[in-house]
């Protein structure tokens, strides 16, 4: 068969010579190598919770539900994000805006309950793309660890951006 490249390496297996069979020189050499690592090499560990690596610009982390310039929630509970979500992580219950709540919700319909199950979410960002109101962005941090499954279902208390001037 014709070879794909002209690279060729002839492998010869000679019997070991005395020093190779005696193990010890090789062992001492190995010990010297590991000792070099022990003494001189700096560790490469990032001590995570205290120290963080920089994320790239378009890192997709925890979701946040945005407010507009006047501090009103942008989400109108259209459900497009839930529809586009491949992991079916989003659920919501919509409600009608009552008179006098115009300073809280931008549209006439809003999400009374908005939950994302962070254990299902695959951080694909499709919800962000689907949203017609620019209400959801995955611009947060890594989701922290927790002990119970129910604590991974994030409601509006965790998702909605902090109100303006606060």
């Amino acid at each position: 068969m014709e070879s794909l490249s002209n690279k060729r390496k002839v492998i010869e297996s000679k019997p070991l010579n005395f020093w190779e069979r005696a193990y010890l020189p090789a062992i001492l050499h190995g010990l010297a190598i590991t000792m070099k690592h022990f003494l001189f090499k700096k560790d490469v560990t990032v001590r995570y919770p205290e120290q963080k690596r920089e994320f790239s610009e378009n890192f997709r982390g925890m979701h946040s539900l945005k407010r507009d310039e006047e501090g009103r929630e942008r989400c109108t509970a259209c459900g497009l994000c839930a529809l586009s979500c491949p992991a079916e992580a989003i659920t919501m219950i919509s409600a009608e805006r009552q008179p006098g709540e115009e300073n809280l919700y931008r549209e006439e319909k809003y999400a009374a309950v908005y939950e994302i199950n962070m254990l299902r979410c695959i951080f694909c960002g499709l919800c962000e793309e689907a949203c017609p109101k620019e209400a959801i962005y995955l611009d947060g941090d890594i989701i922290p660890a927790d002990y119970l499954r129910k604590d991974f279902i994030y409601g509006k208390d965790k998702l909605v951006e902090a109100p303006l001037n606060q």
């Binding site: 062992i27 010990l31 190598i33 590991t34 000792m35 690592h37 022990f38 560790d43 560990t45």
Partner: protein, 341 residues
């Protein structure tokens, strides 16, 4: 022997026991830290500053784990195995001379639990008993991996004990005594046995690695082919006992190596410093422990450097290399003693 002497001996036993346990505990921590540094990592650093509470956390974890005795295991022997392993590991330290004599008031305290005149043989006996813990545990588990691990441990220990014994014989030819106290005293100052017996020491240390089941000879618990080896079926504190026994064994064999070949508690110029006897003794104890710690570190250093031997290579090395070498060493020592000395 008065009551005071008995009390002192008793206190000494308790102290040595506690020290062995403490060192074994912190060896587990040291092992992880040392391994981490060799591999450019950090190692445990969450429990306490620099992770120094890690052994306690590990111990608590071990105690809280579920205790499982497999249905088809032999219940009695299953428990005897780890108990025997840890017991034989602990009693080895009884004959090691930790230092010279301390004089407090009228009492002269001998820093050695007992100076029997066959100390070397005693150590040997205890070490060979240790393999029963592994064997019984592996056999009682009624699991083929455990059994294979146990068989490996047994054959490995038996093969390497011969070479070890032969290497010690040449040491005994030069020292002329079996008592560890006398051997330590003969190496006064810098007259350490390593100078007269370098080959013997080399054989001894290789065999010590095999006897304590440490890498490169850790075939009894070889994870890649035997799951966990002889302790596959063990859980909770019984597993803890096996792991602990390994570290205590390491401590004791380090102490034996330091005593037999590296002068024990002796250090150069010990009597020309102008210190009082008690201070020399205390310094000696510190020096001995420094040597022991160095050897424990060496055990770990080798573990994170050399890969495991294949089983046939292990037997090859033991029977075809170490035993002939040890015999040659005896002959050389004999020639040296008759013609040169």
């Amino acid at each position: 022997m008065g009551t005071a002497d008995i009390l002192i001996k008793f206190a000494l036993i308790v102290i040595i026991f506690l020290i062995s346990l403490l060192i074994a505990m912190y060896s587990t921590y040291a092992e992880r830290k040392v391994a981490a540094f060799f591999q450019d990592r950090v190692g445990p650093n969450r429990a306490g500053p620099f992770g120094i509470l890690q052994p306690l956390a590990d111990g608590a974890k071990m105690f809280l784990k579920e205790e499982i005795i497999p249905t088809h295991a032999n219940g009695f022997l299953f428990i005897v195995g780890p108990s025997l392993a840890i017991m034989t590991a602990c009693i080895g330290s009884a004959v090691i001379p930790w230092g010279q004599k301390l004089t407090i008031g009228t009492h002269v305290i001998d820093l050695q639990v007992t100076d029997i005149n066959v100390g070397v043989l005693y150590i040997f006996g205890v070490v060979s008993l240790g393999v029963y813990g592994v064997m019984i545990g592996g056999w009682a588990s009624n699991n083929k991996y455990s059994l294979l691990g146990a068989i490996r441990a047994a054959s490995q220990n038996i093969s390497y004990e011969i070479a070890m014994g032969l290497s010690i014989i040449s040491l005994l030819m030069t020292t002329g005594t079996l008592s560890l106290r006398e051997i330590a005293e003969q190496q006064h100052g810098w007259h350490w046995n390593i100078i007269y017996q370098p080959l013997g020491f080399l054989i001894f240390i290789v065999c010590a690695f095999a006897e304590t089941n440490r890498t490169p000879f850790d075939l009894p618990e070889c994870e890649t082919e035997l799951v966990g080896g002889y302790h596959t079926e063990y859980s909770s504190m019984k597993l803890g006992f096996y792991l602990f026994a390994e570290y205590i064994n390491m401590f004791v064999s380090s102490a034996v190596m330091a005593t037999l070949y590296f002068g024990g508690y002796n250090f150069p110029f010990m009597h020309s410093l102008g210190l009082s006897e008690n201070w020399v003794t205390i310094l000696g104890v510190i020096v001995l422990f420094a040597k022991i710690f160095f050897f424990i570190f060496f055990f770990m250093w080798v573990r994170w450097t050399i890969p495991r031997f294949r089983y046939d290579q292990l037997m090859d090395l033991g029977w075809k290399t170490l035993i002939p070498l040890a015999i040659a060493n005896i002959v050389l020592t004999g020639l040296w003693m008759t013609f040169i000395k």
